[in-house]
């Protein structure tokens, strides 16, 4: 058994604490436990003997220092005799640094104050988002002043990145959603023998609501997060600052091409999503409800109004605008540390999806009132 670092001896109202050997940060807990077990109620004088220490590190010295402070109500007598110069120096260093860093602890706030603060901060956040939109609007005006300014190359690049490359995942997701919706409704409709109505159900829900929403959610997760991470990383590496000092407006180079590209490509993606969803539904109808493809399409053209398709497509640019502006805004909000990229990316996706759903709800109300 290793020799105990701390030996405690009690004598009447005196207590002797003797440290032996090496006092380092691994042994402090042992000492603390020993001290906690000791009853100090009748003690008036504490003798701390460091004479047999062979080594002390700064954590150990801090421990000795705090011992003195904890027992300041009692009489503490420190015995420094036979200490090597190293140990004395360490003790002295800790004492000196401790004295000039008497920290002012920040008062922790109550629940009301912190709630109020966070509400206020979210409000400021919202205001700064509005400010950002204003900036985007101004940039757009400047941008459209002359045709030469429009950065076709960047827009094309973004269309490829956010549009063409997303076709696969959007097709698969929509196909599966179409399949699921048709399958679930087929089960119910069969009970009433209303098989053919699967076409109405699928057509309207897919074209009007589901396809735009699915596309928006996939794009928010895919491109919205990418925008935040890209622009955030550029902010950390000072690339944005470098652009500004070179007279390149980040809004014209980075922000607008992304917004425009996404707004252009979103309706196309929604169209693809429409088709894939319907195809998924058609397969289920064929297999489960014995509705042939011809019959399905026949019913489709009579039952599903073209307006549902237009409404779905019409939502595209709005969703795209929300997703891209929120993604970019979050990217620009990134502070100078790596953690804030992750934080802002998460926020951008969550906020974008939320904004899309709110926007969809508003559209729903407006269209219903207009009777479309």
């Amino acid at each position: 058994m290793p020799k105990e670092i701390l030996s405690i001896k009690k004598e009447d109202s005196n207590i002797y604490l003797e440290f032996v050997g090496e006092l380092n940060l691994y042994k402090i807990t042992i000492c603390e436990n020993q001290l906690n077990k000791t009853d100090f109620s009748q003690i008036k004088k504490i003798y701390i003997d460091l004479g047999k220490l062979s080594f002390i590190d700064t954590a150990g010295a801090l421990f000795i220092n705090s011992l003195q402070k904890d027992f300041s109500s009692l009489e503490v007598i420190l015995n420094y005799s036979n200490l090597t110069k190293d140990i004395l120096d360490t003790l002295q260093l800790v004492k000196l640094k401790k004295e000039d860093s008497e920290v002012l602890k920040q008062k922790s706030n109550g629940i009301f104050v912190s709630t109020g603060k966070s509400v206020y901060l979210s409000f400021l956040d919202f205001l700064s988002f509005i400010l950002f939109l204003k900036e985007v609007g101004l940039a757009k005006l400047n941008y459209l002043k002359s045709f030469k300014n429009i950065r076709i190359k960047e827009i094309m690049f973004e269309i490829n990145e956010s549009g063409i490359k997303a076709l696969g995942i959007i097709s698969v997701t929509s196909f599966l959603i179409g399949l699921v919706v048709a399958y679930q409704s087929a089960f119910q409709l069969k009970i009433y023998g209303a098989n053919i109505f699967v076409v109405d159900m699928l057509g309207i829900s897919m074209l009007r609501e589901l396809a735009p929403l699915i596309t928006a959610i996939v794009i928010a997760g895919r491109s919205g997060s990418a925008f935040t991470a890209q622009i955030g990383a550029m902010k950390i590496t000072e690339e944005l600052d470098a652009m500004r000092t070179m007279g390149f407006d980040p809004y014209a180079f980075l922000v607008l091409p992304r917004i425009i590209a996404l707004m252009l490509v979103m309706p196309i993606l929604i169209f693809v999503s429409d088709m894939m969803g319907i195809i998924g539904g058609m397969i289920v109808a064929n297999m489960d409800l014995d509705i042939s493809a011809t019959l399905f399409l026949d019913r489709f053209s009579t039952a599903v109004d073209i307006k549902h398709f237009y409404i779905g497509i019409f939502k595209g640019p709005f969703f795209a605008f929300l997703i891209s502006t929120i993604g970019i805004y979050r990217g620009l909000k990134v502070k100078n540390d790596t953690q804030s990229i992750g934080f802002n990316t998460t926020k951008s996706v969550v906020e974008a999806i939320f904004a899309v759903i709110v926007c969809d709800a508003i559209f729903s109300i407006i269209f219903t009132h207009m009777g479309i």
Binding site: E238, T245, G247
Partner: protein
């Protein structure tokens, strides 16, 4: 000598912390001018204010005859073509190769032919001491010193009159750092540049700088040549005296 940059009574406040309280300094044409001071005294902040990345809250900064407090958009765009800025970590555009990085301002701002731009790019790459073969590398493939050199080449792309350097030698090994100093001196005499830099590197301060401003306690504690630095009354001077005696 003609003053190129004049800073008058500049005040900067972050939240509630006052960083600068009435800074005054003048930078003349053809000088290599250093902004020195202890960490956190606002050297980089002042540099960022000079290149219009940050707003100040009082006073005036005048650069090449433009007052930054009320500069128009057109003039600021024009001014930005007349200076080059070297950021601490280089800030090269990571999606572009070195050659593309250097070519970017030329493509955007000039109507030069592709061949001419290629030639300029190659010249700038050689000028800062990189090899032509490095041109097609991406910033992520470069060492720290090469990054700084490429970033310097990019800031020189438009043949600026004025060069801002933020800690040009920090993070470089001593040999590369001395190379960089020589490079800066060479460029100054070749291109007749005025150079403003923030530096912590004592060796490069003594070797390259003509005049310095020491920012301490929110104001300029000293402005003048490096040789007279002993006359100042600031805690910060001790490190200079110590360095000189070594």
């Amino acid at each position: 000598m003609k003053p190129i940059i004049t800073v008058r009574d500049v005040k900067t406040i972050f939240d509630e912390r006052v960083v600068h309280d009435g800074l005054n300094l003048t930078i003349n044409q053809g000088e290599i001018y250093g902004l020195l001071g202890p960490s956190g005294c606002g050297k980089t902040t002042l540099l960022r204010e000079m290149v219009m990345l940050q707003e100040y809250h009082g006073g005036d900064i005048e650069i090449l005859g433009n007052n930054l407090s009320n500069i128009s958009y057109e003039n600021s765009q024009k001014l930005k073509r007349e200076w080059g800025v070297l950021f601490q970590a280089g800030a090269l555009f990571s999606s572009l190769t070195i050659a593309q990085n250097i070519a970017l301002p030329l493509i955007e701002y000039s109507d030069l032919s592709e061949k001419m731009i290629d030639e300029i790019v190659e010249f700038k790459i050689n000028l800062v001491g990189l090899k032509s073969g490095d041109a097609d590398l991406y910033p992520s493939q470069l060492s720290g010193g090469m990054k700084k050199k490429s970033a310097l080449a990019r800031s020189l792309a438009m043949d600026p009159k004025l060069l801002f350097l933020d800690e040009p030698t920090s993070g470089l090994d001593p040999i590369s750092a001395r190379d960089f100093d020589t490079l800066i001196l060479k460029l100054r005499s070749l291109l007749n540049l005025t150079i403003v830099m923030v530096s912590h590197d004592l060796k490069s301060i003594y070797d390259t700088l003509d005049r310095v401003a020491i920012i301490d306690h929110k104001v300029i504690a000293y402005e003048g040549s490096v040789d007279n630095i002993n006359s100042i009354k600031s805690d910060f001077k001790h490190i200079f005296i110590k360095a000189e005696n070594e």
